[in-house]
Symmetry: C2
Subunit: 309 residues, 2 copies
């Protein structure tokens, strides 16, 4: 029996899971810290793969979900800002030489979209937009049942689309991106800035509430906290309207920590979406749902990539 090995590399953790061909429940799964013991992240990954390698050697492929800018076809991590040394890293070549099996590579948010399409909330949809909203905003696009990579694997960078020209500074150093107005970071910044001007709220002056704490306060009726979600949802809906005009998906899947705040973000997003679409045709058959695979989306997306190989 051929096994599929899926890898999800993040700035904090590396996860590896071994799957059979017939189940999304892994035969074996382990996670380690991305850095430590004086070894490079790639050395640590190789070590974990050696440790978990099936004794009979029957492996179909290694599929890797990695963050940052990648060239999936070439198997190169162009730049992954959270992982030291991962600049122009030919990860597929390195692992292929070591393990002598095909190595597949995909951006983690793109593969999360593929995972939701194959195994999660997007099953049955051929045209899908997946967004992960947490400290940042990322995404993935499936059109006509194909994961969209673009010419160099850089497609789906939907967090860095301009939502408010000349607006708040984004984590990337440019201004006004969707990530700068609708992410968890943006929600926390909204409250922090209003706190400093003395706006009444349950939070104490000088405190730094997280998006999760702000969601809890909003549910308890804190006006400022609700405003922060309304602002994030308004810009999210306005920009998602443009995504619909460009891509016309039949389902929008929201993942990431902020999506767990549910109606707090989805209701203002939906209102703004309806206001900004140019024709009701764009939303009349549009499903909007929360992601189903949670933290496993990247790993299961890597599995989906492996099964399609």
């Amino acid at each position: 029996m051929k096994r599929h090995i899926a890898v999800d590399v993040g700035g904090t953790q590396i996860r590896v899971a071994v799957f059979s061909e017939n189940s999304i429940d892994p035969l074996e799964q382990k996670k380690i810290m991305t850095q430590g013991e004086g070894k490079t992240p790639i050395e640590r990954l190789v070590g974990l793969l050696e440790e978990m390698w099936p004794a009979d050697g029957q492996v179909n492929s290694i599929a890797i979900a990695a963050p940052g800018y990648l060239e999936p076809k070439k198997g190169i991590v162009v730049s992954a800002p959270n992982i030291p040394g991962w600049i122009n890293l030919p990860i597929s070549e390195i692992l292929n030489k070591k393990f002598d099996v095909p190595v597949l590579l995909g951006n983690d948010a793109n593969l999360a979209a593929l995972g939701e399409w194959k195994f999660g909330a997007g099953r049955g949809h051929s045209n899908l937009l997946y967004m992960t909203i947490s400290t940042g905003i990322g995404g993935g696009i499936i059109l006509d049942d194909q994961l969209i990579n673009g010419a160099n694997g850089l497609a789906g960078e939907i967090g860095h689309v301009i939502s408010v020209p000349d607006g708040p500074m984004c984590n990337c150093g440019k201004r006004g991106h969707l990530e700068a107005v609708s992410s968890g970071t943006a929600i926390a910044r909204y409250v922090k800035e209003k706190l400093e001007t003395g706006t009444p709220t349950v939070f104490e002056a000088g405190s730094n509430p997280s998006a999760k704490e702000i969601a809890a306060a909003a549910r308890n009726g804190d006006k400022l906290s609700n405003e922060a979600f309304e602002s994030a949802g308004f810009f999210l809906g306005r920009t998602v309207a443009d995504f619909l005009h460009i891509l016309n998906p039949s389902i929008l899947i929201l993942g990431g920590g902020v999506s767990l705040s549910g109606d707090l973000i989805i209701n203002p997003m939906r209102a703004s979406l309806e206001k900004h679409i140019v024709s009701p045709e764009y939303t009349k058959n549009l499903t909007i749902v929360q992601a189903a695979l949670g933290d496993n989306a990247g790993l299961l997306g890597a599995l989906a990539l492996s099964l399609n190989y």
Copy 2:
């Protein structure tokens, strides 16, 4: 020999061309006015098809490029504002009943993209963004060698993406769309508004210069006319940067009347594009060119659709 019949329907003209399988030079081509003689546009189209129908009846299919919102898979024109009576028109069913051959339907800008990809400036590119910039702005997207239709055939509506939130009114009735700041209409409006405030220019107060006249004046050094193109190009580049982030094409093809102004629009667009992309990876291998097929793009796109059928 099977013939391919291509139809390009516009608000002013209906064009029909008969092609062999092996050439993009039509065996026969005719055009008529869309309206007239007390007949409906669909009656006029049927009449022209009957007139041009090959005597031996050997026809592979009829492929139609039509404006407005369509459902290509269902063969329905949902709404074509410039063609009286074309609301929820089952055009494919009507023509299939009449002529007993398969009838294919596509949005005119989407099919122009397909035409440029198959026969024009986009040959050899698998990931292509086509924009037509004239009185309005439309477009079409090819990814992984597939025309992107989206779930309901509404994808590629790139003229109605927000470029300047709460900005100038668009032809569609919403504010700040790309079409409202970067189309020929927007360029003419820019000059008209400045004329009214007494800005020095070669144009007389109260005149209504067209985008084409403004391009000529810009080339002759008229400062206001150059400003109008710089403004249009700036917003175009900023919004195209977002299209690159989402789609990551390897070629951007510019068609439509305004694209013929060449460097006047392309230079400020390119400068703005470089300023707004989040990584140089998006433009380092990006080709930017003018469309090659001119007025024939829709007709040849319909032919391409027919050949792929």
